[in-house]
């Protein structure tokens, strides 16, 4: 049966733990295939860390709203925040073919997210970033 959960967090990295636990809970409830929970956790961890670490010009309290929807075909993620405009689809892909001494440690997070998700959408609306992602589920066997 499809299931949705809402997780509202503050712009504080310690809140990530709560997000990870919610994903784990949903993963168990929805009997996700092995590995899917870790991928969803990684997508959320990368994006939320980015928002909290680099998105805000002030040190005020802000809310980040996360919605997860799981059904037999996919897991959908919606993240809404009032940080500065940030479209991960516009970020340059890091050059992963260069020798080790020229590889920059940064820029891998968005690359991971773009490769782990099957579909990503971004809009800026009423001063908010709205990011939607979809990860397809593997067809169940048998």
């Amino acid at each position: 049966m499809p299931q949705s959960i809402d997780i509202d967090i503050r712009n504080d990295l310690t809140e990530l733990q709560r997000v990870m636990e919610s994903v784990e809970h949903l993963s168990e409830e929805q009997s996700w295939e092995p590995g899917l929970g870790m991928r969803i956790q990684l997508i959320l961890e990368e994006l939320i860390t980015n928002i909290i670490s680099y998105g805000y010009a002030d040190s005020e309290r802000h809310e980040i709203m996360i919605r997860l929807h799981s059904d037999s075909e996919s897991v959908r993620i919606r993240i809404e925040d009032d940080a500065g405009p940030f479209d991960p689809l516009e970020m340059e892909t890091p050059d992963l073919s260069v020798p080790v001494q020229e590889r920059e440690p940064g820029g891998l997070g968005v690359h991971l997210v773009r490769n782990l998700a099957d579909d990503i959408g971004y809009t800026r609306q009423d001063g908010k970033n709205i990011l939607t992602l979809c990860k397809n589920r593997e067809p169940s066997k048998g």
Binding site: L16, E46, Q101
Partner: protein
């Protein structure tokens, strides 16, 4: 993070503790690992058997270790990766620039 290390001849094997190497643990990891990679040891193995989750900051930290070691004439080999962790190394093509082995013995043997 309490990194522990063992030696086998002139090879230092660092046990990466904990299941997570991500934004919440990477700062501590970088501080703790500095003693190993900036010391005299030139042949290092990271045993990643306990690691279940790594993010871009964790991958970046391991890349930094490799760069530092290579810059000072050292070498780094990785072993014991779980399948999901290995998949992430492949996604950012770090498997092409890192020496990755299934087991600790394989990594140690590769130095000999």
């Amino acid at each position: 993070m309490d990194l522990s290390a063992e030696t086998s001849g002139d090879i230092s094997i660092v046990n990466m503790p904990g299941e997570y190497l991500d934004a919440s643990t990477v700062k501590e990891f970088k501080a703790d690992i500095a003693a190993f990679i900036e010391g005299d040891a030139k042949k290092i193995v990271f045993d990643m058997s306990s690691l279940q989750f790594i993010d871009s900051s964790g991958l970046g930290a391991i890349l930094s270790c490799l760069r530092k070691l290579n810059g000072s004439g050292g070498e780094l080999k990785l072993c014991g990766m779980s399948k999901p962790v290995r998949a992430l190394f492949e996604l950012v093509r770090m498997h092409r620039i890192m020496d990755i082995y299934d087991t600790r013995d394989d990594a140690i043997s590769a130095y000999k």
